[in-house]
Structure formats: structure tokens, C-alpha cells
């Protein structure tokens, strides 16, 4: 069996909802069935074959080639298998996913890993705003799984995040960890303003003091050696990420906040 390959034929005029193209939803379908499936694009629906050149037959290994930032909802609610994307992806990549993995060579638009519950998303590029966040009006962002971003993330990374891990090798935008309920966001680069805004619980792990400093909503708890950090770094070793290569540390400066709320979140800065 060879990977089911979907090569985008042309530049898109409208956004396309790719949520039907997951290993779960394509299970039992052959290439003819897939070619006739309808995808929502703007106000119309289009057959898959009109948008993509289709080849291969392994629906557990799906590849999007020549992908575009207008392909939304790739990997929607997938529970197993792999999706590889060559190019960019649109909004809501991996939304609601519970398992499997998504690997993308380009950038993603907003709400990557929105409300995901498990599995792994690896972005070999930059991610837009609201990585791992909850949809607007919803209270729980990602509740499990891992998102790795080799580049930068936009604003509101981990907004309302409840569990899981977001690992950012580059920089994180403003309001990183905003309204976070639990989970871990680790950043190797810099972070924008308003770090941990309205954060309830959870951990923001930084390898250096942010350029804009720590906001007044976080109280300095002093320097500490924390036993869980070596375990966490050990768990990074199996990842295909810079986080697997960095030398683990357990000595950190701990800041607790956002004291404007319950103040049980923490920012840990390597010292």
C-alpha cells in the first residue's frame, strides 16, 4: 500500500473544509469513493477530484501536497493514522483530534490544535494565533496531546488550554498562556507582552527571561530546584524537536499568577 496522496491542483479562490479527509472518515473507502466525496468550499461543494490529484490507497497515511493556507480543518477529529502536509495549512488544523499525528512542512493559520484531546501535531514552520486554544466562546482549549512548533506562534497561544503540551522552538506571541487552566507551554525563544494573562493554573516554562519581563500580575516565588523538570525533559527525548536536544535543567525562578484571578499558574524561567 502507498500513502493516499492529495495534490492540490490550483490556487484556491475560496477556503475549503477538509474535515472529511481524515483516516477515520476515509476508512473503507477506495480512491473512486474519495474522488466523488464533496468538500465545502465557500458557498458551494466540490468533489475531491476537482480540487486534488488523487493517488495511493493507504487512508491511514494521508499526504497533502502543494497544500495551501486555505485548506481548513485538516485532521479534524482524527483518532489514528498520520497526515503529512507539504506546504501550508489553514485554520483549525487538528481540531478535536484524539490521536494519530499531523506533520506539516509549512505554516498554519489560526486555531491550530484547537480543543484537541490527544495525538501530536508537528509544525515545521510558524503557527498562527490561538494555538491549542478553545473556540471563541468555549471554555476548554486543548485537553491532551502535544503540539510542536519549530518556528513562532501568534497571539493567545494556549488560550483556555486545559491539559497537554505546547512546545515552541521559536518565539511565542502576545498573551501566551492567556486564561490557561492547566497543561504546559514551553518556549525556547522569546515571548510577547502579557505573558500568562488571566492564567488560572498550568506551567509556562521559559529558557530565558522574556524581553518584556514578567508582568506585575505574577509574584516572584524565588529560585528553586524542581524535581518534575528532569522527568519532563526526559519525556522530550523521544520527540522530533529541538526540545529533545536541549540540556535539561531543574533550577528555575518561579513566578506565581495571575494574581488578578486565582493565581495558581506558574512561570518558570531557567536560571
Amino acid at each position: 500500500m502507498s500513502a493516499l496522496t492529495l495534490k492540490l491542483k490550483t490556487d484556491l479562490a475560496q477556503r475549503v473544509d477538509c474535515s472529511p479527509l481524515t483516516p477515520d472518515k476515509l476508512a473503507g473507502k477506495d480512491i473512486t469513493d474519495i474522488a466523488t466525496m464533496e468538500l465545502v468550499s465557500g458557498r458551494v461543494t466540490l468533489p475531491v477530484a476537482e480540487l486534488f490529484d488523487i493517488s495511493g490507497d493507504d487512508v491511514n497515511d494521508i499526504r497533502f501536497e502543494n497544500s495551501s493556507a486555505k485548506l481548513d480543518h485538516i485532521g479534524h477529529a482524527m483518532s489514528q493514522g498520520t497526515i503529512t502536509i507539504q506546504g501550508d495549512a489553514g485554520a483549525y488544523l487538528g481540531q478535536f483530534m484524539t490521536g494519530g499525528s499531523i506533520n506539516i512542512t509549512g505554516n498554519t493559520f489560526i486555531y491550530t490544535g484547537c480543543e484537541m484531546k490527544g495525538g501530536q501535531i508537528k509544525i515545521n514552520g510558524n503557527a498562527g494565533d490561538f494555538v491549542g486554544a478553545a473556540r471563541s466562546g468555549y471554555k476548554n482549549g486543548m485537553t491532551g496531546g502535544t503540539i510542536i512548533v519549530t518556528g513562532n506562534t501568534g497571539a493567545r497561544t494556549g488560550d483556555h488550554m486545559r491539559r497537554g503540551m505546547i512546545l515552541i522552538e521559536g518565539n511565542a506571541g502576545e498573551y501566551c498562556g492567556s486564561r490557561m487552566i492547566s497543561g504546559t507551554i514551553a518556549v525556547l525563544g522569546d515571548v510577547g507582552k502579557h505573558l500568562g494573562y488571566a492564567m488560572k493554573r498550568g506551567t509556562l516554562l521559559l529558557t530565558k527571561m522574556p524581553q518584556h519581563g514578567i508582568t506585575a500580575n505574577f509574584n516572584d516565588c524565588g529560585s528553586h530546584t524542581l524535581a518534575f523538570l528532569p522527568l519532563m525533559f526526559a519525556s522530550f527525548k523521544k520527540l522530533d524537536s529541538q526540545f529533545a536536544q536541549i540540556e535539561g535543567f531543574s533550577r528555575v525562578r518561579r513566578y506565581a499568577g495571575d494574581v488578578g484571578g486565582i493565581g495558581m499558574g506558574e512561570i518558570l524561567v531557567k536560571i
Binding site: 504546559t184 528553586h224 530546584t225 524542581l226 524535581a227 518534575f228 522527568l231 519532563m232 519525556s235
Partner: protein, 300 residues
Amino acid sequence: MIINGVSIDKTFAEAFPMKGTRIIITAQNLEWAMHSATAFTGFATSVIACGCEAAIERTLDPSETPDGRPGVACLIFAMGGKGLAKQVETRAGQCVLTSPTSALFSGIEGDDGNEIALGKNLRFFGDGYQISKMIDGKRYWRIPVMDGEFLTQENTGVVSSVGGGNFLILAESQPQALAACEAAVKAMKQLPNIIMPFPGGVVRSGSKVGSKYKALNASTNDAFCPTLKGQTKSELSPEVESVMEIVIDGLSKEDIDKAMRVGIQAACELGAENGIRRISAGNYGGKLGPFHFHLQEIMA
């Protein structure tokens, strides 16, 4: 069967099913891990009165522990899962949580994912300041304490185990019996998955099932008490003056088989010339449990 002049009785040791788990205690150095592990496994020689049987299995190199610090592996067994959970929780709370620099981890996967709480309820000691962390699919609790943070895994696995494997060493004198026991315990301590829960791994007060007193369900094994040779239906020949027992709990029957073989072999190496006369076993006529360890088969 005779090994090095030591007679191996044609009998079997009788053991019973238990529930067991392995926990790993780490600390800043091995000394402090041992302090905690010693306390955790204290007063745990027999389920008859202790509620569990526990002992240190072995020390762990930093490369073998979850947090890369020196550690100690302990095995703890009880008659059922609920009893085990209670013992693990109270001991962890009083002996590991309290011990400076300690951290507590599960050292075993449960049968069919069966688990009991390890630090799950200890977290409430954190009074709301405790922090949960999911790492590699396992939940840990970070509990703020006066020396920093106590890190504990939430649960530990429970496995069906075997308790009460045993053999008796019959010698011409007390020092000779003890020397043989020491040699046996030393050899058996090299093996994984087993513990000898009595002090130093040796018990001198082996028991039989039942008693003349209604309140007791176990009493002295008079058939093997040398001072009663003329008073009871003794199992002892005139030259035997001391009998000591080694009790073994293990994660499986095979682990106990292996341990008994290694232990009996070590005792027999001292041989008849050092006063070791017989190896026997606690056989209760099938009243105690379903696991039977036939000495001659084990040593064949």
C-alpha cells in the same frame, strides 16, 4: 535427596496469593532514599499483624530511576487490593512524603492496567497549592513542602503475587542455623522480584495454622521447636538444636522458585560439616494456600 551432606526433605512449601506492587523512592543521595525506604517498609514482616509484607528489593542506580537520582525499590504485598492500597497510602504519607528530598514513583505496571493510589490522595496535603503534571501519559503531583516540592506519581500498578514461600534450615546449633540463613539471604538478595520480609530476611518463630486458643489463628510451629522434642510430635532428630525459616514473597511463583533454589543452594554449600543437617519447609497440609513449592523438584 542429599546436597553436600544436607538432607532435602520430600515436602513442599505452601504459599498463598497476594496483591503486590513495587514503588521507587528517590532522594538527593542513597542515604536519604534508604532512610525513607526503611521507614516505608518498617513493621511489615507479616500480614498476620502488620497488614502487609514489605521490604527493600534493591538499591537503584541514578540511571535506573525516573528522576535520575539514587533510589531504592521496595516491594509491598497484602492479601487484597484494598488492603494494599491502604498500606501504600498511609506508609507513603508518613514515611516518604515526610522524608527530606524524597520523590515517589511506581515501579511496576499493573495486571490489565490495575492500579491503586500512590500520591493521588497525598496531594490534598498541598492544601490547594498542589500541581498536577501529565508526563508521558502518567500523572504526577507536585506537593509544596517545607524543603521544596514533593514529587509523587499518582498511581502504582497492582499485580497478582505469591506470599509465604519458605524453607526451613535445620542445624546442630543456633549460630550454625543463623550462618546458613545469612548465606541464603545474601544470595537471594541478588535476585529481582522477591523480598524476604522478616528482620534480616530470617524468621525464628515459624508458625503453624491454628492454635489451642480460639482467638489466635496461628501459633508456634511446635513440631519444629527443638525444646519441645520430647513433648510434642516433633519433626526434629536428636542432633538438631535450632531451626530458622526464610519466608519469601514474590511477584510470581517462578520468582519464588528461583529464589528458593538459590537460597537452599547457598545454605547447602555450608554443608553438614558446618552443622547444617536438613532443609524442610512449612507444609500445612494444603490448609494455607494453593501454591506448592516442592523442595526436591526445585533442587533437581
